[in-house]
């Protein structure tokens, strides 16, 4: 039931952030009654486009019309489109019914009684029309992630049946955290919504899902539309080429055996956590190992589980032949493995503390001699480290907050690397760091491996991984979907392996 009337029409949309042109003249059409896929790599302009639709950014140029009527820019709330973000905006402690009514004032006025029975009838009808089965009195906290996504969609549908005509649903990565069968329930729901004559814009990194669900698609790259058309008439290969901007040469080459037999420093066996599923790999002395994946695929969580900072639900971690499973950060640090978090503000350091206090924290006991903290010695030690890591200005008394992002990260690095760890888990080591500091940090990282440490970099920055790693694990939906070694570790391969995620695995002979 592909309608001819456009649900969404975007013309010449442009947006610039400083020197970066996030969008340069994007056209996008979503017809009523169809599911349209929006594809693109990180930084292609997808999220800027969604944020403009959500009214979060004002565009520099261009026009948007919903349901045939032009929308004044910037977009404000009620223009006939409903956006369902990755974070669904549900309250876990409340019931399904309570969550459903919140955006329509529970169908009544603020101080008038909520008519429970009428409310229930309205949502039963919506659930029926969409083929959703949910208990209205269940707490949202007990729903599966997929059920929550269904709930969020049903909630947005109420606005339509409530008379405020909505023409377009935008679903921004609704399936990212969902395992496959669960995700299928959400994509099936998108089809049901489209059948009601509403346009659906589906944003996803999962190519397979987009191919299976959408009628038409648009690919963005560097802020421009590089491909669009009817999904059924386009091959997966063409779409990948559009996303990457280059061709993918052949299939994956054979895996290369690692040179030199040695015992691993770190062995991770079947490790599982909230989002990580049965991850197994080994880390060796002197290597820089990368772990990557699209956001939300579990790579960020993996580092914290290995370091003992997040609970695990199964599996083992062996460090230097000793089982460290279930031990806390203190024990694991003592055995020579450190986690260097990316979030300096929340996990890396104490911004209201001085550089010296941040640096000396893990070794503060060394400066406690004959019943006193030897602050002179502590200061000398911190100053020496700040100089060695080229922290500017090298003043140990300055508050952590007063340093730039790059210098803060160097302080955090020096705090950990003074322990001369055998295994270093680096979480996005150069996030929010300027170009100069980035080079220095990456030099430090490679130097560390050269001196015999096992360095594991968890990052979504493929360029960086390609430059420093000689082995990279790609994660998809919580488990390792590909391992790239030596000459496979290129930006192109990393990008395509991350984008394909599961399809890289399913393309191998598998029943």
């Amino acid at each position: 039931m592909t309608g001819s009337q456009p649900a969404l029409q975007v013309r010449g949309l442009a947006k610039r952030f400083g020197a970066i042109e996030a969008l340069r003249g994007v056209d996008l059409d979503v017809a009523a009654g169809e599911v349209h896929g929006l594809l693109g790599a990180n930084g292609s302009g997808k999220s800027t486009l969604i944020k403009i639709l959500a009214g979060y950014h004002a565009p520099d140029a261009g026009s948007i019309s919903v349901g045939g009527s032009p929308v004044s820019l910037p977009v404000t709330t009620t223009h006939g489109l409903a956006i369902i973000h990755q974070e669904l905006g549900l309250v876990e402690g409340m019931t399904v019914l309570e969550n459903l009514g919140v955006n329509v004032g529970y169908g009544t006025r603020s101080l008038l009684p909520v008519r429970g029975r009428a409310e229930r009838r309205v949502y039963r009808e919506i659930f029926d029309s969409l083929g959703v089965e949910l208990d209205l009195d269940q707490k949202v906290g007990s729903l599966t992630p997929a059920e929550r996504a269904l709930l969020a969609v049903a909630r947005a549908m109420r606005v339509i049946s409530g008379g405020q005509a909505r023409q377009l649903f935008v679903l921004d990565e609704p399936t990212t955290y969902l395992p496959r069968p669960e995700a299928n329930r959400v994509t099936a729901l998108m089809r049901s919504v489209a059948k009601l004559g509403i346009g659906v814009l589906f944003v996803s990194h999962r190519l397979k899902e987009v191919l299976a669900t959408t009628d038409t698609f648009t690919v963005l790259r560097d802020g421009q539309v590089v491909a669009d058309g009817v999904t059924a008439r386009t091959s997966e290969r063409e779409i990948i080429r559009a996303i990457l901007g280059r061709d993918l040469a052949g299939s994956y080459p054979d895996k290369i055996e690692r040179p030199g037999q040695q015992d691993p420093v770190l062995e991770v066996q079947d490790l599982s956590g909230p989002r990580v599923q049965q991850v197994t790999f080994s880390g060796y002395a002197g290597e820089v190992l990368g772990v990557t994946g699209l956001s939300g695929m579990g790579q960020d969580e993996l580092s914290y589980i290995i370091a003992g900072a997040l609970p695990r639900s199964g599996g083992r971690v062996i460090l230097n032949g000793t089982d460290i499973t279930g031990r806390g950060p203190r024990d694991i640090i003592g055995r020579g493995a450190v986690l260097i978090p990316s979030d300096r503000q929340r996990h890396g350091g104490w911004l209201a503390g001085t550089a010296q206090e941040n640096i000396s924290l893990p070794v503060i006991g060394d400066f406690f001699r004959r019943g006193l903290l030897r602050s002179r010695r502590e200061r000398d030690h911190s100053l020496e480290l700040m100089n060695r890591f080229d922290v500017r200005p090298p003043v140990p008394e300055n508050m952590m907050r007063s340093f730039s992002g790059g210098n803060q990260q160097k302080i955090v690095l020096s705090k950990w690397l003074q322990l001369q760890p055998k295994v270093v888990l680096l979480d996005e080591p150069t996030q929010g760091v300027d170009a100069g500091a980035r080079t220095q940090i990456l030099q430090t990282v490679t130097e560390l491996a050269r001196q015999g440490s096992c360095v594991i970099v968890f990052s979504g920055d493929h360029e960086q991984l390609a430059a420093i790693c000689h082995r990279v694990l790609v994660m998809s939906q919580g488990s390792i979907s590909a391992e790239l070694t030596d000459d496979q570790v290129t930006e192109d391969w990393l990008l395509s392996a991350s984008q394909l995620g599961t399809s890289a695995r399913t393309s191998s002979p598998d029943p």
């Binding site: 950060p329 978090p341 104490w350 924290l361 100089n387 490679t446």
Partner: protein, 348 residues
Amino acid sequence: MPHFPVRGPSGDLTTKDAAADGAGRDGTTGARSWRMRLRSLGSRLGLLWVLIALFVLFSIWLPHTFLTLGNVQTMVNSQAVILILAIAATMPLRAGDFDFSIAAVMTASTATVIVLVSHGQSLALAVFLALGLGLVVGVVNALLIVKIGVDSLITTLGMLTALGGYAYAITNSNVIVVSRSAVLGFARDSFAGFPAATWYAWVLVVVAWYVYEKTPLGRYLIFIGGNREAAKLAGVRVSGVRGLALLTSALLSAFAGIVLAGQLGAIDPSIGSQYLLQPFAAALLGATTVTIGRPNALGTLIALYLLVIGVTGLELLGASSWANDVFNGLALVVAVTVAKLAAGSRQT
């Protein structure tokens, strides 16, 4: 083995340069930093200057009542128990937890001592059981707040109310007085012109200063208060340290109760409310001085004496006893406001 793209030689050079540069800079700043340190000391002791100014003001205004040895001794001695409580409060505060139960632990401890002694039990047993009470409350607080993760403010507020009830229960809601000889010596024996109670408090200030500023534990406490998650990831035993702080505050409060029993030789179960706010006013106002933004021992001492000078001066000028509440209440609000503004200005 794999090879890495390391710009080795140039990297080494920069390192050496930076080190030499830094050493030179450090050497030249030696003399300057001495003067700067003095100046920063001046601003860090802002509250002390206010205290001195207030003292001088009241001394000139009321030379015959305020500026007398008796008044100064009274001001100092009347604050002994509150000072012990204020120091008790600083420890969990440093680690980012509120312990509002301290005043009630103190009352319960005083009640325990006085009731047992009035029933003819030995003072030693009474003191032992009062400290035991503090230990139990500390353990319960620590388990609820650290182990289970209940909000510290609510937990200790509940504990405050429950322990207040306990004091009424064991005293049958009566004021109980014991004979002077039974407990008085403990807190009233004087040394160098000040009673033992005051000396206990001062020694405690020194010990707390030592622990906070000169030991790794003090650093762990303040780091946990500053960023609990970062401290945990750095291998600090966050739960252990927080638990220890709550245990210590409860034990010190029980000790304060024993000292109070010695001072009064009596228990009035309603006394706790007078001790509720002042320790926090002192601890939080104290956090705006000496080590700015951090609850600390010397700052607490200065803040408490500033408060008592203000209240005493106002009372001697004719304000009635409500001045105490108004002054302390406002000081608490001013303290947290100043702390917030200071933190804000440092952020920008």
